[in-house]
């Protein structure tokens, strides 16, 4: 009995320790974001509390001088178009592959499968030339096209769901005179809602956080998304940690809110997205 109690205590100890490791760096950055540049210069140490816990000046500076408004705008445009496209393309691909028997079906499926093994970072040198020759370099179209075109995970999630929709539903719609497009639009697509929610969440988080693609393909300052705009803080704000911290917190807060509201769906989404 006592051994059990000790084991339990150790388990809780390890959990509390892990919580500290996760939360401490974030908390310190949050505290720093509330300090004035004077306090930062005092060299009072990273763990001291800010004098005025309601000092949001750094947030104003970060938001305005860091051009965060246009960054959030650009990110929103990319998110909406790329996710909308991914949902349409992924569900159509899954519908075509699962519901039709056509020549070259196996090779097409293999093309999608093999592509899943190729990590995106390795091919960027050559992808860059293609994006450039299509005239999409340094425009919002470059990340949109790349996010839509390389998303194998969502195709798998949709495939899984389309498979679980009984074929008899298609058959009865066909008897009522519906063609393939009507069946897709009226029967399959509405039944895919849970899969769509999963794809929107997983894809949304990836797109919101991605740095590599916007960094390579959209160098102009007007086209900053939140990652690249935040990265540019390194230059002008150099050693102004209070402003950099405010910028980082500004970027983290939306994720935190979404996470708190959609926790369960997010866990499920990632379990499904990665294992299937």
């Amino acid at each position: 009995m006592t051994r059990r109690a000790v084991a339990r205590a150790l388990v809780y100890l390890s959990l509390v320790l892990a919580t500290l490791v996760v939360l401490l760096p974030l908390t310190v950055v949050f505290l720093t974001s509330l300090k004035t540049s004077g306090e930062m210069a005092d060299d009072s140490g990273a763990l001291t509390l800010p004098d005025d816990p309601l000092n949001f000046d750094n947030y104003v500076t970060a938001f305005q001088d860091g051009r965060m408004l246009s960054a959030f705008g650009n990110t929103a445009v990319i998110l909406i178009v790329a996710i909308g496209g991914t949902v349409l393309i992924g569900s159509m691909t899954a519908y075509a592959i699962d519901r039709f028997r056509f020549r070259f079906r196996k090779p097409v499926l293999a093309l999608f499968l093999v592509a899943a093994l190729v990590p995106g970072v390795t091919t960027q040198v050559a992808t860059f030339q293609i994006v450039n020759s299509l005239g999409m370099f340094d425009s919002l179209w470059a990340p949109i096209a790349l996010y839509m075109g390389t998303d194998i995970v969502s195709i798998y999630i949709f495939l899984q769901f389309v498979r679980s929709i009984p074929v008899s539903l298609d058959e009865s719609a066909r008897i009522d005179g519906a063609n393939a497009f009507t069946i897709y639009r009226k029967v399959i697509f509405p039944l895919l809602k849970p899969a769509i929610a999963t794809v929107v969440i997983v894809k949304g988080i990836n797109v919101y956080n991605d740095f590599y693609i916007p960094f390579l393909y959209m160098p102009s300052e007007d086209l900053g998304v939140i990652s690249t705009s935040l990265f540019r803080f390194k230059g002008p704000f150099g050693a102004h940690w209070e402003t950099i911290s405010a910028g980082a917190i500004l970027v983290i807060v939306p994720t935190l809110i979404v996470f708190l509201f959609l926790q369960r769906f997010i866990y499920n989404g990632f379990t499904r997205g990665a294992t299937k």
Binding site: P25, L26, T255, T275
Partner: protein, 316 residues
Amino acid sequence: MTDTTRKAARPVPPAAPAGPTPPSAARRPRRWRGVTPWLFLIAPLVLLIAFTYAPIVNMVAYSFTDWDGVSPQLHWTGAGNYAELFTRPELFEVFFVSGYYLAASVVQIAAALYFATVLSFNVRFRSFFKGVLFFPYLINGVAIGFVFLYFFQDGGTLDAILSLIGYDGDRAWLGTPTSANVSLAGVSVWRYLGLNFVLFLGAIQSIPGELYEAAELDGANRWQQFRHIIAPGIRPVLSLSVILSVSGSLSVFEIPYIMTGGATGTETFVIQTVKLAFQFNKTGLASAAAVVLLLIILAVTWVQRRLVPDDKVDLV
């Protein structure tokens, strides 16, 4: 479902509407069916070929040339780029940096496994701990880079904590190659632990609960339950995590690029490739490097598939 079953299913209800239509009308939609799937597949296939397969083919082609990525002329150099890659030690050294991340992913998988096991049993504040462990995975990489740049700074968070517990900190954690790489690999554990954790947790929870009850009745302790029920039950996810971490360790980019820019010996293979291609305009050499990386990752995946076949594990 095959075509024969569809044909068999169709004649059943033709009673009402199909009556007056001649057989030719029935044949037309069938001929259309040969084209319909392609109408759905045009967009995805165009995107797939344009942004995945065409780049791979081009990349292999560039890797045998001296192209700079801009000028219209390029020369065939045979295997010259590959020879350069393998003979200039500084170009190849970046692979050793991956070793730090590989070691870190062992720690990461072990810790994720531990926390997933602990939190799949009844623990107070379970969903709070789950959330805390997973949340870092969702945070923007640039924000994480800045958080930890401040964390490792001279007189930053880490030094402040160390002096709090009576250890005189004040050292440049990112100042020497070894400590910088260890620090960065630590950040990567902090960031990605949550993903492994959630994958393991999902797999453990899909194991039927009766198995634990039966084991408990047989007098198995927690370790025995882990060893004989959980470990075999999550083997597929475990092996997936291993491939993800090997290919992840080889293609590290964001955190070191954001935090150090590749300085003090923290340059990784991808940082080097990006620099070769986009700063030094050595597209040919960068392509050769990327081909080597791609081949290594494909080889690792292949070996892993061979060692751990992706079969369903039967528990019951």
